[in-house]
Amino acid sequence: MDGVGVNIAFWVLAVVTIGAALGVMAARNLLHAVLFLILTFIGVAGFFLLLSAEFLAMAQIIIYVGAIAVLVLFAVMLTPHAGQSNSETKMALPAGLLALCLAAIFVFVLTDTDWSSVGSAPSVGVTGLGDALLSTWVLPFEMASVLLTAALVGAIMLTRNPEDETPEADA
């Protein structure tokens, strides 16, 4: 990938995405952490656009920013007395060491490997993605819809308050 515009877009997106992810980590207020999380999702959608995956960028915006972030926001607001603080447990130090070591290994391996031999793929359009989903991957596709239905029913069953149930009035 060449071009000044692509380079500028990549580095701006990289700074925004990693910065927002660090914000999720560092924000003291859980609501602010959710807002940083939304910014991270938008940055990742920008990366998807850079990788010429337009459909997935739109799906990322609609599903993550539109649905999951709102869900998380509602969950934060529905648990008011649990404290809006975003503090760490006593496992923060080992977890931080683990994450740092993992990051160091990843960055070392990724920069040390010669990736020039892997070549380049033609970009995938929505047509190709739809064809693949409904031919090669049709069984996982149907299973995903069953999973979504099960998750939906499960979430409703879990959050239903049994005491709120009123017996159906006979008409």
Partner: protein
Amino acid sequence: MTLGLEHFLVVGALLFCIGLFVALSKRNAIGVLMGLELMLNAVNLTLLAFSRFTHSAHPETGHVFVVFVITVAAAEAAVALALAITVYRNRSTVDVDQITMLRN
């Protein structure tokens, strides 16, 4: 400067490690979930980067994987947040250190 595969992979790896730290260290169960979402996003970014930069007979396979990861992430978020709200309703807390009903 030419952008290569390794640039996207490094961003994905850093995002994953930040998500790992958030998921392992946060006190609030919803914060842990946010870390999980960060990690799933990092994996999606890595899958798409490989799909874009690697020569393959079926370049759309990486995209299909990302579609499924997004689907499963949505299902996971819905169920996990429902669990968090149920635990909060019963115990008035979502502190993962105090949710020890299975221990005693």
